[in-house]
Amino acid sequence: MHKKIKVMISCMIIVIFILSLGACSQSSSSDKVGKNEIVFWNPFVGPDGKNMQMMVDAYNKTNPKFKVRNISLKEADMYAKIPTVVNSGRNIPDLNIVHAERIKQFVDKDMLIPMDDSLAKYPEIKAENYVKAGWDIGGLDNKRYSVPLDVHSFVMYYNKDLAAKYAPHALDDHIVTFDEIKEAGLKAKKDGIIAAPVTWMKPAFLSVYSQMGGSITSDGTKPTLNTEQAVDTLKLYNGFVKSGITNKDGQDAGQAFKSGKAIFYPEGIWMQNDIKKAKNLNWGMTNFPQLSDDKNKMVNWSSSHQFVLLKNPERNKKKTEGVIKFINWVRDNSLPWAEAGQNPAALATLDNPKYHEMPQSFLIKDATEQKSLKIFDYKYNGYISEQLDKIGNDTVFGKLDIKKALKDSQKTVEDKIAQDK
């Protein structure tokens, strides 16, 4: 080959390669930084993502100065990306949804900016207009770091026909106690019907643990998992397994409920659109099972999606105001979010009669019910969650010794916290 041609081809390859690399990096950065655009990250990739997109579209139709660009990311990916972008200072979203349990940790790591100054122009964004459990999470050191979108709770579905047959009066007061579940279970057992399905043990454990007077932390830093109350909580469920009123290990409780083989089914309110798909199922929704029928002692595990502003040097004051304007708009227009199965945190939703017809609204309509919504707010909640997910089912189904599992979990969480120097 002629030397000149060789050199030319080589140069072309290099130029094309460099250009393509350059184009990659350019498109990703210029994509993000629309001047009059609010880049909004959220973890709504499921069916609820469509409802969020609908809300964003509706907002953009109002012709705001700053339009919102909705970017839904898988939860794990989003939480992995957040530290990276904050660290690099580039491509940081203008608005972000994070789970309530993350806020303390994010504030502690200096990743969020307080909204107080920008909120001054929107006096309606205040405690009185939101569900207390959701609002309280965002107030730290007399500063407001977040505004709640929703409060989503772990409740209990029930099969109306089976409940009428096996637990005729359990639902009269809207509180089903564990004793009532056991009684119904023992009656239904001979018919192959289960009453106390073991589902997601983390929220179930936390609800009962809290009812027993337990707390996941003694002072906000030290974890308290290895306690008598924790042992009793797991023993309660283990007892149900032993008396044969639960699903068997490995059996799908959701399937059992949807096919009419379970009286009760503890699950999140967000699962209702899935339950609705089951044909010939006459179902209702009530509080998570309680130890006592005293309404004031009720606990329903809850979490909340919260709007936050990640630290972003490029987000100027005007854009921040645009962001708050959107949050304020959501406050008045949360019905599509309720249609996704969630409970919007904005109390303005209660003004809409359509919302009152939705089964999950019972948690918000009643002041006592609202008080039962408990968000397990703890800086190291993530470590506790991981441990509960790990030992929950194994201890309940008798594959792991309860005391040993709790002792090991306590140690694991303590060791992980010790690394936070």
């Binding site: 060789k6 080589s10 399937q255 991981e386 790990k390």
Partner: protein
């Protein structure tokens, strides 16, 4: 020795495609061809490796600046018997080694037998070849979702047809059996194709000569077939071992590490420590990853040593 002559020969060997050898300066042509790949290799492989090793000497939460702590992370996971991370490394590495020990022989022997069976060109050979190869093309998530349905206690076909009711994914030893079966099913095709190609390359004359000498089928297989495809075997053993050491998806999606952490492999602990629900412990996670990397390297070197060409 005539140095000039040696140098000339070296250049001739280095640039056979160039027609005439370059006697002076550096030859850039190979660099230009290899350049793009080298750049990507450095960008996505070398830099992350060095960064990962550096992180293993620090305490880092992914947000603030990494704080250099020397060998503290290694001391914690290798020497501090009281530490959770020591237990994690031992449990995780132990389960990873178990997985490698269970799957690698099966992932070599079964494809080899299938390749040998297909080599005699039975009826419908192409169809069987396609069936055996097909799973390789599926993504791990699809494979795991399909198999978790297959193993489902209530409506899974496996329990239905075997009229048994073990909780395949939640009790031992069934959980291990399930993991191995799925992994082998998923990976048969890759190695099988390599063996098929290798078997086609073995000269028929050897077999004919052996037949004349009265050798049986097994004798031919062990004395002709295996030695002839030794290099391909070595390659597949090393590659399969490395691949199985990196087990993550199967255990995560199928057994979720259970029951009681008996199938929690090291990569799951690494992932959870670095990118879990809680605050990141990236330093410890990186140190664990480095240890896993060293184990893979050591095992590969031993395999090379044992199977190398002896002259």
């Amino acid at each position: 020795m005539d140095l000039k002559l040696t140098e000339k020969k070296r250049i001739d060997v280095l640039s056979p495609a160039m027609g005439k050898p370059h006697r002076k300066g550096i030859n850039f042509s190979p660099m230009i061809f290899i350049g793009p790949h080298l750049l990507l290799f450095a960008l996505f492989f070398l830099i992350p490796i060095f960064f990962g090793v550096y992180i293993s000497f620090t305490n880092w939460d992914l947000v603030n600046t990494p704080e250099f702590v020397g060998l503290d992370n290694y001391k914690e996971i290798l020497l501090n018997k009281e530490s959770t991370f020591y237990t994690q490394l031992h449990t995780g590495l132990g389960n990873t080694f178990k997985f490698v020990a269970f799957t690698v022989p099966a992932c070599i022997i079964i494809p080899l037998l299938l390749a040998a069976a297909l080599h005699v060109k039975p009826k419908g050979m192409k169809i069987f070849q396609a069936i055996f190869y097909l799973p390789v093309l599926f993504s791990i998530s699809a494979v795991m979702i399909i198999w978790s349905m297959m193993f489902n206690v209530s409506f899974g076909p496996i329990n239905h047809y075997f009229t048994s009711s073990p909780n395949w994914l939640g009790t031992q030893p069934y959980a291990w059996i399930a993991l191995v079966v799925v992994t082998v099913w998923w990976g048969i095709g890759g190695n099988m194709i390599i063996y098929q190609a290798a078997l086609n390359g073995v000269s028929k004359e050897y077999y004919e000569a052996a037949s004349l000498d009265g050798a049986g089928r097994l004798q031919k297989f062990f004395h002709i077939t295996l030695p002839s495809i030794k290099n391909q075997l070595l390659f597949t053993i090393v590659i399969t071992t490395i691949a199985q050491f990196n087990i993550y998806g199967q255990a995560l999606m199928l057994t979720k590490g259970g029951p009681s952490s008996s199938t929690t492999v090291l990569l799951m602990y690494i992932q959870q420590n670095a990118f879990g629900s809680g605050q990141s412990i990236a330093g410890i996670a990186s140190a664990m990853a480095v240890i896993l990397g060293l184990c893979i390297m050591a095992v590969s070197v031993i395999q090379f040593f044992l199977l190398r060409e002896r002259k």
